[in-house]
């Protein structure tokens, strides 16, 4: 890197550090409890008042979207500068100012596929956390076969008319706007899909939260009945939505296999081995008395170790510019298996202690494990089922063909 460049970056670092010292409230430098996460949008309550100031400060610099062009409210930073900002934020243990599907998924896609007017209109509100977006993809009839979607979008001359139903719409009941896949041509499959945006407050939109086997969830069923949508809210070409959709899925997949949403993080800090020692008992050496269970717990822990080592390996190899697509392709499947096995072992080690739902008489941590166990069953379904993952590995990675 040329000398003056390095110098410029050093300067930038100083500047950032000073600004953060100035503008990052003390409470924003502490670990963040779930309820203080800021998702933005019209329903945001800012449980912790400092989080509002922090968001406004960051947004004023465009640093909630550091690499987006400044003209759309972004930080306009180079990759190098963005990395420095990231490092400095880490240095302070600063909380993320904003969680947002707009920042993670919709924004990047709009930058790539949207027209000038759309970018000017929607991106700044994302940067400032004024608009919260949700994703209208899955449908009851479609499931793994996403492109089989049926939500109808008719051209009514001066507007589009949308009728249909979406499912698994995360936070649809909390969002202000939705980016949505609709069918504009019923005569073909992938080539009949368009990508459209509309206000969740529009006439004819209804979102009903879905209750899971593990209890309440961020997911909704979302119904559209004669929803009118201005024509300038369709992104890209009519019937050209599928490529935008696929691009977006990449973001979603990666965030799930990295243990992002979907609660793959696991439940509580105690592992199956701890609960086994506690409830099954220990032998003279202080080891889990049941060697059968102990062996299965260890088999799982080794699998989990192998998983985290594989994440480290592919990250390092990617940094080194090596091809890691093959390795990465297995992570979603393995992450689901790992988290499900872990919870099965937690439940087994906890014995009857894991059989509580609510009310008294059970250790709350154990109840959390029970809910987590039920929720983990979704890991091999959400964001592409394990069966689909295995198909992809077999075909794209191993080069196995379909029946001819």
């Amino acid at each position: 890197m040329a000398f003056d460049e390095t110098e410029a970056l050093d300067g930038f670092r100083k500047e950032v550090r000073a600004w953060l010292e100035q503008n990052c409230p003390a409470s924003m430098r502490t670990p963040m409890p779930d309820e203080e996460v800021v998702w933005g949008g019209s329903r945001e309550t800012f449980r912790n008042p400092d989080s509002r100031a922090w968001l406004e400060a960051m947004a004023s610099k465009g640093w909630t979207a550091p690499t987006w062009p400044a003209e759309y409210g972004g930080g306009g930073l180079s990759r190098a500068e963005a990395r420095i900002l990231e490092q400095e934020l880490k240095r302070l243990h600063a909380r993320p100012a904003l969680f947002s599907f707009g920042l993670w998924m919709f924004g990047p896609a709009l930058l790539e596929f949207g027209n000038e007017a759309q970018k000017k209109r929607f991106l700044p509100d994302i940067v400032h956390g004024r608009t919260r977006w949700c994703q209208g993809y899955s449908e009851p009839g479609a499931g793994s076969d996403l492109a089989d979607l049926q939500t109808k979008c008719e051209d009514k001359g001066d507007h589009y008319l949308i009728n249909g139903q979406k499912v698994w719409t995360s936070y649809a009941d909390q969002a202000d706007w939705i980016f949505c896949l609709v069918r504009t041509d019923t005569s073909t499959k992938h080539e009949g899909i368009s990508f459209i945006l509309f206000d969740m407050a529009s006439e004819g939109v209804e979102a009903r939260p879905i209750k899971l086997i593990s209890g309440s969830s961020p997911f909704c069923e979302t119904f559209f009945t004669d929803v009118k949508v201005p024509k300038d809210q369709l992104v890209g070409e009519v019937n050209g939505g599928w490529q935008i959709a696929k691009r977006l899925l990449q973001f979603e997949r990666s965030s799930i296999s990295a243990g992002g949403f979907g609660g793959t993080g696991g439940s509580g800090i105690l592992g199956p081995e701890d609960y086994a020692k506690m409830h099954v008992g220990t032998d003279a050496l202080g080891h889990v008395a049941d060697g059968d269970l102990r062996g299965r717990i260890t088999d799982h822990k080794m699998y989990a170790k192998a998983f985290s080592l594989t994440v480290q390996r592919s990250t390092q190899q990617a940094k080194a510019g090596q091809e890691v697509g093959h390795t990465a392709s297995i992570l979603k499947y393995a992450a689901a298996k790992m988290n499900q096995d872990r919870h099965e072992l937690l439940v087994e080690a906890l014995g009857t202690e894991a059989l509580g739902w609510d009310g008294d008489g059970f250790d709350p941590a154990a109840r959390k494990a029970t809910r987590g166990w039920l929720r983990s069953k979704g890991n091999s379904i959400e964001g592409g089922t394990s069966e689909i993952n295995l198909n992809v590995v077999a075909k794209r990675v191993l080069g196995l063909r379909d029946h001819q």
Binding site: S144, H279, D360, I381, E387
Partner: protein
């Protein structure tokens, strides 16, 4: 004795009983009933169902005719358990018709039998076995103390997760009259009414909505005549009673597993993806075929355990452990695959998959997990 094969073919009477039970479960106790009980708060049992089961005489199947039962045996009882298991019905059958009836029929004295058994057979009295004190089944670990007093014993201890403990009229309490936790000698069994002084019951809201209770005994005094079986020799009565409970539970589990599998198979034959029935994908076909294989193998173990008890075979404990362990593994597999095969819809509370998954883990944990019974089987076979 171990070599003459036990009876796998049902008698005509047993066949009829099976048909009656399945028809009753289907018509009167469908899964939708569990759902509405759950939505209404649940964890209160299902007295209405219990009353109907009593009318059918299902509580008397293990009660001698002399005491108002039909003395129909475990094979018959197993058919009923399988039927109620198939619809996840909430019933007092396991705790009362199996455990209560067996404990008294096998170990009660004439006075106790005459007083208690008719009420059990008629469904007038429900019982619950208050045994385990930790989170895992460990019948020898009983620490609850039964101290001699003038007219009988004083019981002090805490029982965890007593099934039907929140609804039963009468507890069968395992307590220690001698020795240390871990000893089989020194365990004695006592009948304790739920309303006795010193008994306190904490109702538990369980994941499967059946409910259960932690039961604590703070200096509860019981009369000499409330002891079932001989002093210090409760184990001789407790173990065969537990084996009946395990066999009956295994029958309930095969019923649940078969029903979940049938529901899944139906979905495979109707749900389409990528323009094809999902049941036409070979990977799904092979997994379904493997589940079917496990079900068939496990069904044989359950039938054998039930028959062995009726035939008084020497290898009953071994066969019971095989049945319970295999039933646990099979139900575990099937209940997980049921959710996975159904995909997103299977994850929703609106679908029945979750009910099978939740009940399965309760059934697996009760009276010994698969690991417990593998260990027991190995001990019996001395390795």
């Amino acid at each position: 004795m171990k070599d003459n094969p036990m009876q796998f073919v049902l008698s005509e009477d047993q066949d009829m009983l099976r048909d009656t039970a399945f028809a009753f479960a289907r018509d009167e106790l469908p899964v939708s009933r569990l759902r509405s009980l759950r939505d209404a708060g649940a964890n209160q049992g299902d007295p209405e169902a219990a009353a109907k089961l009593a009318e059918l005489g299902f509580f008397g199947v293990l009660v001698p005719e002399a005491h108002g039962g039909s003395d129909f045996g475990m094979v018959g009882m197993g058919q009923i358990m399988e039927a109620v298991g198939s619809t996840l019905a909430i019933t007092p059958l396991l705790q009362t018709a199996v455990i209560g009836a067996s404990a008294l029929a096998l170990g009660g004295n004439e006075a106790q039998k005459a007083e208690r058994l008719p009420k059990i057979a008629s469904g007038a009295v429900t019982t619950a076995l208050a045994l385990d004190e930790g989170a895992h089944h460990a019948p020898l670990a009983v620490a609850t103390e039964a101290e001699r007093n003038g007219q009988g014993f004083t019981l002090t201890g805490a029982k965890r997760f007593v099934p039907d403990g929140h609804t039963a009229d009468l507890f069968i309490v395992a307590a220690r009259t001698f020795g240390q936790p871990g000893d089989s000698h020194g365990i004695s069994l006592f009948l304790v009414p739920r309303d006795a002084d010193g008994v306190s019951v904490l109702t538990l809201n369980t994941v499967d909505s059946q409910g259960a209770a932690h039961v604590s005994l703070a200096g509860v005094s019981v009369g000499e005549d409330q002891m079932i079986g001989d002093l210090d020799k409760g184990w001789d009565l407790l173990e065969p009673t537990l084996d009946r409970a395990r066999a009956a539970l295994s029958a309930e589990m095969i019923g649940s597993a078969q029903a979940a599998f049938d529901m899944t198979l139906d979905y495979l034959q109707t749900r389409r993806q990528f323009g094809q029935l999902i049941g036409s994908f070979q990977a799904m076909q092979h997994r379904a075929a493997k589940m079917f294989t496990e079900l068939e193998l496990t069904r044989s173990c359950v039938s054998a355990a039930l028959a062995a008890i009726d035939e008084g075979r020497a290898d009953t404990p071994e066969l019971v452990s095989v049945a319970k362990a295999r039933a646990s593994e099979t139900l575990h597999l099937v209940s997980n695959e049921t959710v996975q095969f159904h995909g997103g819809i299977g994850m929703t509370d609106a679908h029945d998959s979750g009910f099978y998954l939740k009940r399965a883990r309760v059934q697996e944990a009760l009276y010994g997990s698969a690991a417990f019974h593998r260990d027991r089987y190995a001990k019996i076979n001395n390795y």
